[in-house]
């Protein structure tokens, strides 16, 4: 292991700490709710280890409890995770220098906060190395799987999650993540459009479709109001060429 690999890995690990702390209650809660909904401890851990997407795992176990058809459960999880198509499109630009297997691993670890941190680091102009990416991604993954196990085994101890506000941790966490992007161009119109779209989608069509509906509306607004004029210096050179 080279010195720079170690340095970047440790830099990533420092950034993973708040993510691990913030995700821990959800990892534990998932394990607890999974067993509560009739999954075995092994199935709960398998779900955390292979799907590795908190909100969709919650939607999944919700459906295991009822009489939903298997294809419907898979489709619902796919719908909640559809946003990852957009993450992978966006992050692909940041990690185009990774090797094929590094990309394969990076995309597997591409969850909401890892996506957010990758964008933040790239935007700050810092180097995007595989070592840094593993440093932030791997500890989050391993602790997520461990929490699923612990929650499944000891879940019976949490009798009333609402009493501790645990059910509201996830929305607060996503809201705080959104605030972190507020310096981006046209942030407010995008957030307002996405909020209205998801609220209407939730009301008229239902979960989990509000995620895709709200996201598509917010992104469409961003594309529509985007500034498509070429940069000033380009315009000037075009002008001088025409006058010649």
């Amino acid at each position: 292991m080279t010195v720079s690999f170690k340095r970047d890995f440790l830099a990533g690990m420092r950034q993973c700490v708040p993510v691990v702390v913030a995700a821990a209650p959800f990892g534990l809660l998932f394990g607890a709710l999974a067993v509560d909904n009739g999954l075995t401890v092994g199935e709960a851990v398998l779900m955390s280890a292979t799907i590795y997407a908190g909100a969709s795992q919650m939607v999944g176990i919700d459906l295991f409890n009822g009489s939903a058809a298997p294809w419907l459960i898979v489709l619902s999880i796919f719908a909640v995770n559809f946003r990852h198509v957009l993450y992978s499109a966006a992050v692909g630009r940041r990690i185009s220098h990774f090797s094929l297997w590094q990309k394969a691993v990076a995309f597997f670890l591409l969850i909401d906060p890892v996506y957010a941190e990758t964008e933040r680091r790239s935007e700050a102009g810092k180097s995007m190395t595989f070592a840094w990416y593993l440093g932030i991604g791997l500890p989050v993954y391993l602790s997520w799987v461990a929490e699923g196990y612990l929650g499944a085994v000891f879940g019976g101890l949490i009798e009333n999650p609402e009493e501790f506000g645990i059910d509201f941790l996830l929305p607060l966490y996503f809201m705080a993540l959104v605030l972190g992007f507020r310096s981006r161009k046209n942030w407010l119109p995008v957030v307002l459009a996405s909020a209205l779209g998801s609220i209407a989608g939730f009301h008229f069509i239902g979960s989990p479709w509000h995620v895709s509906i709200g996201a598509i509306i917010g992104i469409a607004v961003a594309a529509i109001i985007a500034d498509t004029r070429p940069p000033q210096n380009m315009k000037a050179s075009v002008g001088s060429e025409a006058s010649r």
Partner: protein, 100 residues
């Protein structure tokens, strides 16, 4: 295939579908060399647009305590770091639920 329960097959299928979403966007987009400014703007809007959908309905449809908490938490979040915002918000929702 006796050893695996239906649940395990559902989980594995969902895992494959999820991985497909995680590589799919890149596989499609890497076919284009230069991006139109509108595509660029759309990609830059992805995090805010998607993450907003994961909390906006929860702020509106859960009740007065939750709606109030989210409004206050947004104001707090403009000043304080993420983790502090999340924990203060959680404390507020617990307190408001006890009061209301």
């Amino acid at each position: 295939m006796d050893g695996f329960s239906v649940n395990v097959w559902i989980i594995l299928a969902a895992a494959l579908a999820t991985y497909a979403t995680r590589i799919g966007g890149h596989l499609i987009l890497s076919r284009f060399e230069r991006l139109h400014p509108r595509v660029e703007a759309a990609l830059n809007a992805v995090p805010a647009a998607v993450l907003t959908t994961l909390f906006a309905p929860a702020a509106v449809f859960n009740g007065t305590a939750e709606a109030l908490t989210m409004a206050v938490a947004i104001l707090i979040g403009l000043r304080l770091p993420m983790l502090a915002t999340v924990f203060i918000g959680t404390a507020i929702v617990v307190a408001l639920r006890a009061l209301m």
